[in-house]
Symmetry: C2
Amino acid sequence: MHLFYIDNLDSDLVELPKEESVHCTRVLRLAAGEEIHLTDGCGQMCRASIVNAYSKACLVRIEERQHEYQKRNYRMHVAVAPTKNTARMEWFLEKAVEVGIDELTPIICQHSERNFIKTERLEKIAVSAMKQSLKAYKPIINEPTKLSDFLKLNTAGQKFIAHCEGDERNPLKDVCQAQMPTTILIGPEGDFSKTEIEEAFAAGYKAITLGTSRLRTETAALASCFFVNFINE
Amino acid sequence: MHLFYIDNLDSDLVELPKEESVHCTRVLRLAAGEEIHLTDGCGQMCRASIVNAYSKACLVRIEERQHEYQKRNYRMHVAVAPTKNTARMEWFLEKAVEVGIDELTPIICQHSERNFIKTERLEKIAVSAMKQSLKAYKPIINEPTKLSDFLKLNTAGQKFIAHCEGDERNPLKDVCQAQMPTTILIGPEGDFSKTEIEEAFAAGYKAITLGTSRLRTETAALASCFFVNFINE
């Protein structure tokens, strides 16, 4: 099964974007009449056939549409401090898309070692992981946001902060409910500051642990996706 | 806390291996009298102080020993087909050490795209991840083994095979028991062959799924570590 991404699937006759066309016709060498699949990253999964295998503007006809393809019964938003090494953030996102993530916000914290991350690159990784794992939902990637601003957002559902110190934390599995919108905050290498933790509490976030092991930022972020997925399976 | 690895901690006065000495004295610039920690990768965690900060043979005195440091209540053995791209196998191991793994066997399957992997390199990654995540257990890394030979081993505990097709599979969370030695087989990009699956059943392995998502080999291997850890927390 070959899956291609195209953001607008309104028409039944669509032209693949240039990059996707090149991949379809030159790399995979698919020809007119062959079957491919298309997704808009918003839940649509379409079976389609190639009408004209133009290498830069491949034309395809949609034969069958499925809406809300493999829609999950929960919504997962991870707000994570970008890691010093961006490759670690990128693999987190790749894996998170495989497992299940709906929204990613890079948060800038007091102890952040990195205050900037290219969201276009994260966007590309999300598309590529979605195609590779045959999914029809692409997560929303937000621009880097200061934690204090992020906490002001009126986020629905259950909200958790995975910080590393203190006794007032519960294991995620004891407090996380299934089928709920869930937001989890993951701090930078140097953890959240005390002030930040207090601010998060004031904004309705509950302190959690992701197990007894000390996890790197990106491992903790991925662990939270695995755990919430596990609870909802 | 600075943790160093040294395979023999019998004596109370030990010399760090050359690489660890260089790291301790030149990179971290630690001096005589300063406190470090040592592990043998077999459960010992020792507090020690530097006696002589020789750059190639740093001498340290053990002040306090803890045995079975943060010992987990289960044993996890992952037997996984090496991925075509070895970097993916390496990051799996790094994360698995953070989360919890006791033994790793690269298995060679009928559909394997890679039949060889350098275990010395995996060994180095395991040591580095153990130190970084402040653990006292280093997993056993076995040499690559043919699946048919691996299945002949008299493995204790519960045994699972995570293959991708068929209806006779149960979610891992429904069949996996806590506090048990656990072995999980993860196949190559092209999945296990039908013959291999039959052979595994005959050897007492039960078919499992790791959720509804299609996961890459290395993501599935890591998912199994997260899930078994989660069940045992």
